[in-house]
Symmetry: C2
Subunit: 225 residues, 2 copies
DNA sequence: TATCATACATACGTGCATGCACGTATTCAA
DNA sequence: TTGAATACGTGCATGCACGTATGTATGATA
């Protein structure tokens, strides 16, 4: 009887401990990502995070040391997804300009889900602070800036990007414009892709028609579920 | 003796009540603007706001009903300054494209002071909320969007802006890219002006060389002191 | 089946920021 | 000069959210 009960009950699918833990962790991470994206760190209420994931704060504090630890985990999680879905595909483009434009379009697609403004929101919230969360977002941001600087220098050497302000300033403007445009255009698919590419092309100072070509990224579904 | 004391003492300059009130209010508003720009609404601590202005929370609660009232006053204050220093000068340009580019450059100059990210920060913090502060920032943002839509339509009719996505989508992307670029480039003068103009030109889909011309806005000093 | 470990829920204490009541100092009005 | 009004400082109460301690249920181990 007890064996029959265990096999027929669809509610508890007889999960292993590790599976159970991983499932809870994923649900909490995704909920926290949405929350951070919407409310930022300070306004994020852990009670709501847990509730929206179907748990209580107890589960949350069992998986994460504290609020800060949770936020850091979310940042890492979002960054990994971004790298897989946007960063790596874009890196396969032939020339620097194509890679930067692919980044723009890919970022627009990536931000279609609402877990996107996390970095922007946290970067704004912790700008000039000495908080671990701020340092981590700053580190990720700096990685992106460095990548853009390399691509801009390469493009200028190749002649596909005209000279202009220092590469770092251009890179900052490029990423800032990209994030701002994508956030403002949240939900306005499919125009967000084109307009993000246009903004990037504009900051680079290249002819805008290169942004009009539409090499739709294959929209990789997030494997982390 | 008492008359001599009143004339020589530079500390209390024998202000009238209205002057006293206005001076305190200005100091508190400016301090609150910096705070909102840095920390956002939720993380803003009124004790710090008052202290940085040289007062205590008592003075603050005497001038403003509550935290919300203070934030609304700051938003109105910043918006008025923006209109005077950026919006009106830009409106004197001949064609729509020139006006949009002037807005971009003017906004970059305006954001040189650190009271600039207020709108962006609050818009992010209250996006999708039903909070009075959120509604007010949304209203101001919408005003800017509407203005851009008009200019884009006019430019398209005149042939200076090529056809493309719906004017509203372009306007959203334009303002988003502008704010994002300027925030990311905070402190990188004078390149911020050029890059902001480039981002705007790019989103519009116009030749970027129009952004390179440098009609430096005359840098109006804020008369509200 | 008995025991332990792990996942999760519940209850409590604590710190902090807001808002308000009240006290003090400065200006205006007679 | 004196009393009222206004500008501002100070102390207290409340609420909210975090972190932790404790209790309970489910999966692992023998």
């Amino acid at each position: 009887m007890s064996s029959a009960r265990a096999s027929t009950l669809s509610a508890h699918e007889r999960l292993t401990q590790a599976e159970r833990r991983a499932r809870s962790r994923s649900a909490l991470l995704e909920s926290a990502a949405r929350g951070l994206s919407r409310y930022g760190y300070g306004n994020l209420v852990l009670e709501e995070v847990a509730r929206e994931a179907g748990y209580t704060r107890g589960a949350l504090y069992h998986q994460f040391k504290d609020k800060e630890d949770l936020a850091l985990a979310v940042i890492e999680w979002v960054n990994e997804n971004w790298m897989r879905e946007v960063g790596k595909p874009a890196a396969q483009q032939a020339d620097p300009v194509a890679e930067l434009l692919a980044m723009a379009r890919g970022h627009a697609v990536f931000c279609g889900r609402d877990i996107a403004r996390v970095v922007m929101a946290l970067r704004l919230e912790f700008a000039g602070q000495h908080h671990p969360v701020g340092r981590e977002t700053e580190r990720i941001w700096e990685t992106g800036v460095k990548r853009c600087v390399r691509l801009i220098n390469a493009g200028r050497k190749a002649g596909s990007i005209p000279p202009g302000p220092p590469a770092r300033a251009v890179a900052l403007g490029l990423l800032g414009a990209l994030e701002g445009a994508v956030i403002a255009l949240a939900g306005h698919t499919p125009h967000d892709q084109l307009l993000a590419a246009r903004a990037v092309a504009g900051v680079l100072g290249i002819a805008s028609h290169r942004a009009e070509e539409t090499p739709h990224p294959p929209a990789i579904p997030p494997p982390t579920k």
